[in-house]
């Protein structure tokens, strides 16, 4: 396809996507309407990125833009029993969305003092002050067509407000379930953690079908002084899904954001995570694992922006790439002028399991302060022959040895998930993917 033709097709894609929304839904919340209007304006002004855009150089989404999607129908008659296997044992609060639409009958909200968890649409008026202050302002949409699309067309979203000094012990589960063939949904998540509060939030994307669909999601997480948020993100979409995600996080003084993102589903997925250390002494840990095979493409773009002094960031991102799959990692660390005493470490390790597997990795350090400690490193490797031989010499077959080493490579990331049952489940999924479940290996 020529460039011109692909551009036309891409713009048709945007027009088609929007054609499904005949009437602009008006909300009683004025601030919400104006945000949407601004986003819609940007959607109409922007175009879909192609590999000619630097930020999308390695990620060709023409496969997505060739397809037509319809907004998912709003009614869902799913029963609890059909989705129970996605639930997290430790979690007492669960927000379930079916194709981006809130499913109250499948959700469960444990009333804990100091915590407000609800679907966004129900709280736009009652919690206007808390929402309006940050919502739509963290995830930039002026130059991001997918973020703009989401903001303009979201049906609902997850809202989590943590009051001052509230500590929530159990993880809060936000479960996004895709059910409709050729459906498009715009899931949204907004989290505000007030001073000194603490919580673990699991953002989980799953599917009940294997046909093509499109999830275009945006999450915003705002941490006040000394707040501490654990953010676990699991992307286990269907095999033919397209998943594009933008997540923006801002850290106030002394706050701590720890995230683990796992990408194992979707035909093509892209995750943009931007973490802004907006005040002194912010801390973040940004870990990720992409585990893909077949013809999957998983792209993780992260940006950790050290805008103020004494910030700490740690990042370990790993990719396990089998078959003819393609992983992309772009890790930008920005240290702005004046962000002295920044302490940043970034590591990216990639394991290629076949000759056709591909990885593009681009660590990007931009440092404008002179008293900082920043390290980064990236490796791309295959399984080590000596390690395989060592295991074989102890009686493991060549295949079992390779699978065990692959599992171990990924387990280092999964170990960091602070929710034991979810960790076990993902470890099991990884074992299954690695073909290791038949062996006697017991997960710790």
């Amino acid at each position: 396809m020529s460039n011109v033709a692909s551009l036309m097709s891409a713009n048709n894609f945007l027009a088609n996507l929007q054609a499904g929304y005949p009437a602009f839904p008006v909300s009683p919340a004025a601030y919400f309407n104006s945000l949407r209007a601004a986003a819609l304006e940007r959607v109409n002004a922007l175009t879909v990125p192609t590999t000619r855009d630097e930020e999308w150089r390695f990620t060709d989404i023409s496969l997505l833009t060739k397809l037509a999607f319809q907004p998912a129908a709003t009614s869902s008659n799913l029963h609890l029993a059909e989705i129970e296997n996605f639930f997290i044992t430790e979690s007492h609060t669960r927000l379930v969305f079916i194709d981006g639409v809130y499913a109250a009958h499948l959700s469960q909200i444990d009333t804990v003092s100091g915590v407000f968890v609800a679907n966004l649409a129900s709280a736009l008026i009652t919690h206007a002050t808390a929402i309006e202050a940050h919502f739509g302002q963290l995830a930039e949409f002026k130059n991001n067509v997918f973020s703009a699309l989401n903001t303009a067309h979201m049906k609902d979203g997850a809202l989590i407000l943590l009051s001052r000094d509230t500590v929530v012990a159990q993880p809060i589960h936000v479960l996004q379930i895709a059910t409709q063939k050729n459906g498009v949904s715009h899931p949204r998540c907004f989290i505000r953690a007030e001073t000194g509060s603490q919580a673990t939030i699991v953002e989980d994307y799953v599917s009940l079908q294997d046909e093509a669909y499109f999830t275009n999601t945006v999450s915003e997480i705002s941490l006040a002084d000394n707040a501490h948020v654990h953010h676990v993100r699991v992307q286990r979409e269907g095999a033919q899904a397209f998943h594009i995600a933008n997540c923006a996080v801002t850290l106030a003084r002394g706050s701590n954001y720890q995230s683990v993102s796992v990408a194992m589903g979707a035909r093509i997925s892209r995750y943009n995570l931007n973490v802004l250390q907006a005040a002194e002494a912010g801390q973040c840990t940004v870990d990720g694992l992409a585990l893909i095979g077949g013809r999957q493409l998983a792209d993780t773009h992260t940006c950790i922006d050290h805008a103020q002094p004494y910030g700490i960031s740690r990042q370990l991102h790993k990719c396990i790439v089998g078959g003819g799959a393609h992983a992309v990692f772009n890790g930008k660390i920005m240290v702005r002028q004046g962000a002295q005493r920044t302490d940043s470490q970034q590591t990216n390790r990639n394991l290629l399991l076949s000759n056709r597997a591909q990885v593009d990795t681009k660590p990007q350090l931009e440092i404008f302060a002179d008293d900082v400690k920043c390290t980064h490193g990236a490796t791309v490797s295959q399984l080590d022959g000596e390690e395989v031989f060592y295991l074989q010499s102890r009686g493991l077959s060549d295949m079992a040895a390779r699978n065990l080493l692959t599992y171990a490579f990924g387990a280092e990331i999964l170990e960091r998930i602070p929710v034991p049952s979810l960790k076990r489940e993902l470890e099991y999924a990884m074992l299954k993917q690695a073909g290791l479940e038949q062996t006697t290996l017991e997960i710790r």
């Binding site: 031989f389 599992y407 171990a408």
Partner: protein
């Protein structure tokens, strides 16, 4: 121990092997009977470690000639894991670190894999825990080593003890100890040797590959062989090791011209 009329475990005849196109083993002969402890000594580059790895089935070493029978079976038809299951155990000179795999988990996987292959019952995690802790006492190992990743961050001595621990669990017919003494202080050497001595009996055999005589003070061999330029050039009893220690390797008359020996080294 030399046992009268004991069975031949390993019979190596005219073994030749090369690595990256360079011939390292050049017609090696060796017979090991059950109950025996053999020491193979020799200067660096003489092919000792290559011999150990060829026996275990390392892919980087290409066998170019000769034969090896293990309990009457042609060893070269077996994959490394099949050799392990048949009862060959190699204690590595440089044990591999495997981050992310718990040592206890690994030990149990190896143990149960061999148990299954040998038609015996697997041990469940609790049973295995008792079993491995008992074996660890023999090597004066702290049970904490079960919770760490395989060999990761272990000192040289800890890695070697972990190797002998595996040997103790897997109960091989033929144990090959590749430079097990290197990098060990006297205490660690004593503990490792004590472990090995505890495990030797009339039904199994041990081949120790070593550069130094020191190890042989602790594990007393029945036979000492000198390896030079890819073959065994002299064999004798344990007193040969002392002679080697005192006089070095140069006094042994090599049937191979010195120049080619240098090239191989």
């Amino acid at each position: 121990m030399i046992v009268a009329d004991s069975k031949v475990l390993l019979e190596v005849r005219g073994l030749c092997a090369s690595v990256n196109g360079t011939e390292v083993l050049k017609g090696l002969d060796l017979t090991v009977r059950s109950g025996e402890v053999h020491a193979i000594m020799g200067p660096n580059g003489s092919g000792k470690s290559t011999f150990a790895k060829v026996l275990a089935g390392h892919k980087a070493y290409e066998v170019t000639g000769g034969s090896v029978l293990f309990q009457g079976q042609n060893l070269f038809t077996l994959e490394p894991e099949e050799r392990a299951r048949a009862g060959i155990f190699l204690a590595f000179q440089y044990p591999i670190e495997i981050p992310g795999v718990g040592n206890g988990q690994f030990l149990r996987l190896a143990y149960n894999t061999l148990q299954t292959q040998r038609g015996k019952e697997e041990l469940d995690p609790l049973e295995f825990d008792d079993f491995v802790r008992e074996k660890m006492k023999l090597l004066e190992m702290n049970p904490d080593f079960l919770d760490r990743s395989v060999n990761e961050g272990f000192s040289g001595g800890e890695k070697k003890r972990n190797e002998i621990l595996q040997m103790a669990m897997l109960e091989p017919r033929l144990a090959i100890l590749d430079e097990t003494d290197s990098g060990l202080d006297i205490d660690a050497l004593r503990i490792v040797a004590q472990g090995v001595n505890h495990l030797t009996n009339k039904d199994n055999a041990t081949i120790m590959v070593t550069h130094y005589q020191r190890l042989l003070n602790y594990i007393v061999p029945d036979f000492v062989h000198v390896m030079e330029a890819g073959r065994i050039t002299k064999s004798g009893g344990k007193e040969l090791a002392l002679e080697l220690e005192a006089r070095g390797y140069d006094w042994i008359e090599s049937p191979i011209p010195t120049s080619s020996a240098r090239i191989a080294a």
